[in-house]
């Protein structure tokens, strides 16, 4: 019981603050950055790895060699930015909010794959694009932060 009240004391201010429009719009901006870096990174990496060819190896040297391909290098750097922005987003939002909302990346990857890499989009894939878009809208409507785990206020 004592533990319960200590917990709610530390989580309550941030949960309250997370409902403010400023907090929400920052979270949405960060979400957009996460999605864009994910799409650009994956499309570059996919294009590069197809150029490099088969790579299944336990030796890190083979992956380092793949990095000499400019597409693989650009993709990896962009995905490093994705990692940082995704962590920043997870510091202010629930995992079950972040996962479906950032799934919009799949839609953009499919569309980018069509226009940039020349992948065909069948009617099943269009249906998939619509279904994921509905999922993104559903998740967007939920409050971005509800987690009741230990939450520290920003110390700086």
């Amino acid at each position: 019981m004592a533990d319960q009240s200590r917990r709610s004391a530390t989580t309550a201010p941030i949960l309250e603050q997370s409902k403010s429009p400023t907090f929400t719009s920052k979270t949405h901006l960060l979400t957009a950055i996460v999605v864009v870096t994910n799409v650009v990174g994956n499309v570059c990496l996919s294009h590069g790895m197809q150029e490099v060819g088969r790579t299944i190896s336990a030796s890190p040297a083979d992956y380092v060699r793949a990095l000499f391909n400019p597409w693989v290098l650009a993709g990896s750097c962009t995905l490093a930015l994705w990692m940082i922005s995704d962590l920043a987003l997870l510091s202010r939002a629930d995992l079950t909010f972040v996962l479906p909302v950032t799934a919009s990346a799949y839609v953009f990857i499919a569309i980018a794959g069509h226009f940039v890499l020349g992948d065909r989009i069948s009617w099943e894939r269009w249906l998939g694009i619509i279904v994921i878009t509905v999922a993104v809208i559903l998740a967007e409507e939920t409050p971005s932060l509800t987690s009741k785990t230990e939450y520290r206020e920003h110390s700086q």
């Binding site: 790579t55 995992l95 079950t96 799934a103 069948s122 920003h154 700086q156």
Partner: protein, 120 residues
Amino acid sequence: MKWILVAIIASSNTVGDLLNTAGMKRIGAVEDLSLRSLLQLLLAIGRSPMVLGGIAALAIGFFAIMSLLSIATVSFAIPATASSYLVETLLAKYILKEDVRWRRWAASGLVVIGVVLLRW
């Protein structure tokens, strides 16, 4: 071989996401993306065993995805790893104590269905 890689990717993504979410909540909300706060974020991450562990798990998944992308198309690789969404939602509800109601369940279910449809 394809499906072994898929299993490695799905489980390392699940572990990585859970550790990162729990670790980042302990670090505290990132307020802006200025250079200064990014450096502070990187320092805080360097001191957080949870987030370092999470990144390590995602790194394993990343190399597995790179291998998978070299033997399969992106239209196979990305959807095949989406199976972890429902498991992650369940674990987030019970371990991270997130408020998962029907909208979020429906959202993760629809993402899995949508991503499987994208395979075609």
